[in-house]
Symmetry: C2
DNA sequence: CGGATGACAGATATTGAAATTTGTCATTCG
DNA sequence: CGAATGACAAATTTCAATATCTGTCATCCG
């Protein structure tokens, strides 16, 4: 069977949708465009995704999951000092978001739309990220190098305090050259507070 | 002379413009509306403000300056513990912004528009706020209760880290009840790091 | 029979002509 | 004379007609 005759799967639709979104952006991409790219009728797309919103969410989920997985590598690296891991993880989060905003502006715009609509996908993404952060803080507490009475709450505070460096509403700021130094200043301030008192 | 015959001053125009903005919002308020509210021709308004944008900025400046002045009171209260002042100042900043967003939504929207356009007025407002913060940090360093090698940089980090609690792009979050606890968590984390090591 | 189709109704977006607004300036008024 | 006016051109917004899109479903096809 040739690729064009391949059966229509959710996966193939997601691939095509991502491409269409990348090309046209969230405002102009239509379900009809996606169907045309696949050489099927738009009705067939609706067999796999109940609404256009669901399709958009599914694409964004895949896209966000790629980031989560990359960061999970840093978070789970049990061998390394938790404090260094925390710094690197937050730096990597910033770099990942910044790269996406610059390199994939249309998909990033799609993501930003979902953030404003506060859908489940974004919520889950943020929950996954804070869970990873919580894991690092817990490791630090276990190793005795970080101090926190409530690692989950601490992780939340870390995440909120670094919003300027990962929240899409600040994407415009990420082009300024001073931004890296600003992240370092915030990291220094927070990690100083997290470090366990020397006994 | 009766009030309606009073001479046309920049101050009277600003007053009328604020009222028109409050009523119609930034999207629908026109210079003609302002002129009508004052009983003059719109040409007269242009004698005092070169463009509509300048008028909008001037109104927003007045409005922002009211916040700055209120906070300056806390910042300058030399008698009190700098750490407590820092906490109170950041809490007051949050409360002030939240109150404006809730109580004066149209003027707040005008302000948000200016933030996105990154005009001089907003820049100056942010500079004034960080200057106040810097002053508190310096007082703490002088008193020996706070540790900072570079109070201005520390103030910048504090301001960025609390963005979630004063930046208009988060205004939607300020209605959630958990928000207060989130601010406290961030404050705790940062102030722990700022406190001078016990010797 | 299960998956794909395309005609269809209602919702949404696009378009371009008309109306309004911005900003200027020659003129008027006190 | 200096401040206010309102006619005006250019830019912007509004609005309604038109076109496109979303989501459904009776029908078709392998």
């Amino acid at each position: 069977m040739s690729p064009t005759t391949e059966t229509l799967t959710a996966e193939r639709i997601l691939e095509a949708t991502e491409e269409v979104l990348r090309r046209h952006g969230p405002a102009k991409a239509t379900v009809v465009d996606v169907a045309r790219a696949l050489g099927v009728s738009h009705g067939s797309v609706y067999r796999h995704f109940r609404t256009k919103a669901a399709l958009r969410e599914a694409v964004t989920k895949r896209w966000l999951d790629r980031t989560s997985q990359a960061l999970a590598g840093i978070a789970a690296d049990e061998g390394r000092d938790p404090e260094a891991r925390l710094r690197d993880w937050l730096r990597a989060l910033f770099e990942a978001k910044r790269r996406k905003a610059g390199h994939d502006p249309e998909l990033f715009a799609t993501y930003s739309v979902l953030v404003d609509e506060s859908g489940t996908v974004v919520e889950e993404h943020l929950a996954e990220l804070t869970a990873q952060l919580t894991g690092i803080v817990e490791a630090g507490v276990a190793a005795g190098s970080l101090a926190s009475a409530d690692p989950a709450a601490t992780a939340g505070a870390l995440f909120h305090a670094t919003g300027r460096f990962h929240d899409p509403c600040y994407a415009g700021e990420w082009k300024r050259p001073e931004i890296e130094g600003e992240l370092e200043a915030v990291l220094d301030l927070m990690l100083r507070g997290l470090r366990a008192p020397v006994r």
